[in-house]
């Protein structure tokens, strides 16, 4: 995420906007708080100066491509490897029109978490990241320093096995405390790229009354189960959870136990 990567991104964005090849650019720009950049659309070249790309750009841009590919003209989008996996899933599920997306893969050395503006270590999903290639792209910028140097070798399913090895009541206790902290803000659902149903079955107005722990448990069972076989483990759900609940464990448990439907002859 060196500086010249950002410069190249800006120049490329300006070129494509000027040439009319794309009608808008989807990237990050400085957010309200320091070290907290936000996704943004850039419609004209001189706005491209505000394009930002550093280790604080943790947001996954692929979900914004759903509505982006609905209006006319192509959209230029910068994707890190994990975002690119999410986009392939969205394309497979007919939510993003591949022809309307011009994809530039940008190099990634792992993003960091920020707590009150202070940087404190790599994101959990980057700690266990195994995604160093780009499953889908039209162009690559600054990816020569991939594979990321910051891999720390923590095994991806280590957290899952740790919980699995405890007995049923311990597991129940663990999730009871974790999920009772859930305030049902739906952030995990809104950020998740594969959570794109028009009307979510959990979207019942009566649910907004004070949530009870049982309801939280079923909410999260269903949210996780609905990504069974679809979740690309981008880690956004755990990242955005204001209560810091390790939601990625649920999805990773399903990924770990995932067996495709094999139909013997």
């Amino acid at each position: 995420m060196s500086n010249d990567t950002v410069l190249k991104m800006r120049t490329r964005a300006r070129e494509m906007l000027a040439s009319g090849e794309v009608t808008q650019v989807l990237a990050w720009e400085a957010g309200e708080f320091p070290n907290y950049p936000a996704p943004a659309f850039f419609k004209d070249e001189n706005a491209c100066g505000r394009i930002l790309y550093d280790r604080f750009c943790t947001a996954n841009l692929s979900k914004f491509m759903i509505e982006a590919s609905r209006n006319e003209g192509k959209t230029l989008v910068f994707l890190r490897p994990c975002d690119a996996y999410s986009l392939t899933q969205l394309i497979k599920e007919n939510q993003v029109n591949r022809e309307k997306a011009y994809i530039i893969g940008v190099g990634c050395e792992g993003c960091v978490t920020v707590y009150e503006g202070e940087e404190c270590g790599l994101l959990e999903s980057c700690l266990v990241c195994i995604k160093t290639d780009y499953p889908i792209y039209d162009e690559l910028i600054g990816t020569e320093n991939n594979p990321r140097t910051a891999t720390t070798g923590t095994e991806r399913f280590e957290g899952v096995t740790r919980v699995e090895e405890t007995d049923a009541s311990a597991r129940y206790g663990f999730w009871q405390t974790q999920l009772s902290r859930c305030i049902r803000c739906n952030a995990c659902r809104n950020i998740c790229p594969t959570c794109h149903c028009k009307v979510c079955m959990l979207d019942k107005e009566s649910l907004t009354n004070p949530p009870n722990p049982l309801e939280n448990k079923f909410f999260h069972v269903i949210r996780a189960y609905h990504q069974n076989g679809r979740c690309t483990d981008c880690g956004q759900c755990a990242r955005v959870c204001p209560q810091g609940i390790p939601l990625q464990l649920l999805n990773r448990k399903l990924i770990k136990a995932y067996k495709p439907v094999e139909v013997q002859p």
Partner: protein, 183 residues
Amino acid sequence: MPVNIVAFCCNWCSYAGADLAGTSRLAYPSQVKIIRVPCSCRVDEAFVLRAFIRGADGVIVCGCHLGDCHYMTGNHHTKQRMEALFGLLEFMGMERERLRLEWISASEGAKFADTMAGFTAQVEKLGKNERYAGKCFEAADAETTNTEATDTETADVEAMDVEATDAETADTETTNTKAAEDI
């Protein structure tokens, strides 16, 4: 309080197996209550969770043996889905013995009766399901408005009743047929 078992049986094999257990007069515990579905792949994760919310203590999904499904590949999907769902529920602390997936063919009446007896005994050993039971996904607002409803059970179902009538009348409006109170 006796335990409550909900069994989803596929119409072509396990439901016919249950009928055969009946014609052969092979008794099994009466806590087992069977819901007929066209194929085991019709069983949605919402139904399994709904059963536990509403007070079931054990859920067993029965289908045809792999390869014998009347709809060719239905039970292969059931196997993948239920193993994932049961694994996730187990991961979240529910006792794995409350969940069962069984392949029972139309000619295995004895196997049906034995399976149901065995499963009921297994769930009885665990006792009532406390971990994943209780009031939830209630249409709380509907309850308060429905003053004249006497006992809670009626209120509970009245809520559903109000929900159902408006769904029937307002077909066009996008009430979600799988809306939350359905789970």
